[in-house]
Symmetry: C2
Subunit: 510 residues, 2 copies
């Protein structure tokens, strides 16, 4: 245990909290995979019990007293001046997590939790019935509560930053805006070029029936080759694919299988395996302390997107795997070759639904949401005006108009759950992944050639060394500097897209 | 909630303990069904954390203080003389559970838990290697510890009774001996008559390949007809079939499927569904209090055995289901008719392995174990002499000699886990089930005819009313008196066996 420098009591308490969280994660996994339908009410009680128990341990006087022996509770600065930088940072993280956990008064937590539950239920129904008006008052109240939450946490510029910090520590909305500004116009233009290209891709072979069991087996095979250790993990089915970890020795992914959509299960598996490799690679010796945790949602997403898009949708990858799937699915793929298959899995087509978006348009969906939620939290957009502004932006970014709010502002669950500040981490994942992969290609000799021969482990080893085993020892942007030697910028991502899709769509000059 | 009469604090604490236990049950279920192999070490930590947490809540001063307001902590008697009998009994149970939980000093619990873990591991290896000597010192120490445990609990006659009480409250070894005495000779004789019968049954059709998926589906179909509510439960696969409940709204059973053994999965499913119906039928309004719990291991086992043997191995049952399985499995059952199929699933043949024993010889296996463990705990048999005495008894009861200790004294896990007092509850289940079923036949008009037409719900409703919904409001034997109007005796069980097997084996006079 890397905890010589923080007191045993604090470490024991943190490990206990982590253990409770891990148990909560198991019963939540069960809820999404195998739990019988009628067990939901009692499961909610079990989950909230564990959640309150962990919160209680984190915020009780004992923890505070122990922590106050080590850091200034006001600033998070280490009291002992002889402490090394590593330990100082660890203590800062312990303090930060404590501060966040104890920032919210219990009565507020209860109000928020009750409202979240009601708001989410209302959203489900409102979406089904395409009734934004029914959801609006809940969203309004949620925004009020989230502003209040931000006030409790504290912030310098905008309450949005306090919320964002929970998902992407130390990131600011100003920084995100500046990164997004770099790609907004180039992305919209790239989409336009692709739209205008005379070159079209026929995706229909992938909409033919693909045997469900073979899809499952093929996904597992790829996950194994990526280095997902099935002695310490597994894959199951769920309505929405996700990854969860109970410990680096028990990491679980899920996928969903659709007979008439070959891409769905496969890329979900690759994406979730990317997340899973991160979790399996975290340092077990730091388990319980912040250093045993992942850095942020954005870095997590960089791992899933790197594998899903930069590897799983790359030509070298399919040079190796295409002959195998052709043999596995001879009927739907009878006329396909690796070139047109590669195009099929990389079609770009502006659409209304974020979760179905391709690699190029995806970030536009995110930028739209980021702008909306920033305006809402800052009080510069009313809930009443939201659907119209959403639709205008959709036209601006994607050239489309949602026929109803169901395909527009009501499509995502996030706001109904109060997850303001979450959306941008999806796009940050893309922005982080590009320079990481670029650097990997520099440092791993013949990486493309390796992938082309089915060697995915070399990349995983590199990611493990550079990212996974570091745990939470760095902030996201500092990690990128460590790895690449340069500040994060959106250029590598934009260049990657331009290069890849110019070829795919035979664009002359973009 | 039926808790007007016990303080809110006690009820809240009991419910919290029950909730923790239920969460522990989920992660144990996961361990047996889906957990990746490498996650065992951390899972053990999670389980022991929850187990200690629940124990801590049960034995801390707060609980004691609240309880002392209601009952005399020495005797368990209710302090308020105006309390009704129902509440008095509830308080007695609360007190009894508290007393048992706090009887063992934490240091002893730790010693026992450590030794159990080592002992179990040693047993696994010793069984594999057929090396009783390697296991013997662990068993000796276990017996010493269990005697010590019994001393902590306290007892009148023999330490064995204190251990037995944990599985079958209020039952004594004297009572069990007297019940077993009623059936020992008749059982041995019945087995002898069957052995001598010129009538033989050819079981080989059931050892042919039966499609695994169809076996699974057929098991589920029967479970549904038995009234297992799959909105509040499910079936999975595991190495050893078991039932677990997280709440009456989430009850799970498992089975194991063997292609060349049709009986294995089917009767495991029926058996476990019998357990599950009990759990699903417990009064949710009493959840958290003792009245929301099942009565005892023996009563639980009566429910599984009633369904497995008295229903699932009965002629009326197969009059309904045989045409269906004949259609489902036409190849292995091509020459079978309902009469010889009924015989095939009711073959009696003394064998060495308890878990593979038939309905007639099963109780003999239990009696042997009960006698052994009673002698061991009372100090009337040394571990050294155990294998020989085991083998002698096996010859006496079953006419067989285990070729090695693997098929003898090393076959069961129970003693290695310290589960002394558990074995007799299996046979008690048989003894309870017989008079219960006899009474059901009296009270449900045309029960056989109902079963013959696939109506299994009438029986479940009757069991639900008479047993399941009562929770733990009665001791086992009192429940039998309530239901049947007479004291428990072994006669109904023996008569049931004699009648059934005389017909099956065409015995003239037994």
């Amino acid at each position: 245990m890397n905890t010589n420098n923080i007191t045993k009591t604090i470490t024991a308490l943190l490990t206990e909290i982590k253990k409770i969280n891990s148990i909560e994660a198991i019963i939540q996994w069960d809820q999404e995979t195998y739990m019988p339908e009628g067990a939901g009410d009692f499961r909610a009680e079990q989950i909230s019990y564990l959640s309150e128990l962990a919160h209680h341990l984190h915020t009780n006087p004992k923890f505070k007293k122990e922590l106050s022996k080590l850091v200034d509770l006001e600033t998070g600065e280490t009291l002992n001046p002889n402490t090394d930088n590593n330990t100082k940072f660890l203590l800062y993280l312990v303090w930060k997590d404590y501060k966040d956990a104890s920032a919210l008064p219990p009565s507020f937590v209860k109000t928020l939790s009750l409202h979240t539950s009601k708001s989410q239920q209302t959203w489900v129904k409102a979406k089904q019935e395409n009734n934004f008006k029914a959801f609006a008052p809940y969203l309004e109240k949620m925004i009020r509560l989230k502003k209040q939450e931000a006030d409790y946490y504290g912030y310098t510029t905008t309450p949005y930053d306090a919320l964002l910090d929970k998902y992407e520590p130390k990131m600011t909305s100003q920084r995100i805006s500046s990164l997004f500004n770099e790609i907004r116009t180039p992305l919209v233009q790239l989409v336009q070029h692709i739209k205008n290209s005379p070159f079209t891709i026929d995706e229909s072979p992938l909409k033919q029936p693909f045997d469900i069991d073979k899809q499952w087996d093929f996904g597992l095979k790829i996950a194994k080759l990526m280095g997902f250790n099935f002695n310490y993990g597994r894959q199951d089915k769920s309505a929405h694919p996700f990854t969860t970890s109970f410990h680096p020795t028990d990491v679980r992914i899920t996928t969903r299988l659709t007979e008439n959509n070959f891409k769905s299960a496969l890329f979900a598996t690759i994406h979730e395996t990317g997340h899973a490799l991160y979790e399996q690679g975290l340092p077990t010796s730091d388990y319980g302390t912040p250093f045993g945790d992942p850095i942020s949602h954005g870095i997590h997403e960089s791992q899933s997107r790197l594998w899903e898009n930069q590897v799983g949708r790359s030509k070298p990858f399919w040079n190796y795997f295409f002959p195998q799937i052709k043999e596995l699915f001879p009927i739907p793929l009878k006329d396909a070759d690796v070139d047109n298959f590669y195009r099929m899995i990389n079609t770009v087509s502006p659409s209304l639904i974020r979760v179905e978006a391709d690699e190029v348009t995806y970030s536009l969906h995110i930028m739209l949401r980021f702008e909306m939620e920033k305006l809402l939290i800052d009080g510069n957009l009313t809930v009443n005006d939201l659907p119209d502004v959403w639709n205008q932006k959709t036209m601006e970014y994607l050239g489309l108009t949602p026929p109803t709010n169901k395909e527009g502002v009501l499509q995502d669950i996030h706001w109904s759950m109060g997850a303001f500040g979450y959306f941008p981490t999806y796009a940050l994942g893309n922005l982080y992944a590009a320079p990481i992969m670029k650097q990997a290609a520099k440092e791993i000799p013949g990486l493309e050639g390796k992938i082309e021969t089915g060697d995915l482990l070399s990349l995983r080893e590199w990611l493990r060394e550079k990212i996974h085993t570091k745990g939470r020892r760095r902030f996201a942007e500092d990690l990128i500097v460590d790895i690449t030697g340069t500040e994060l910028s959106a250029k590598p991502f934009m260049n990657y897209l331009l290069e890849k899709y110019s070829k795919i769509y035979c664009l002359e000059s973009v």
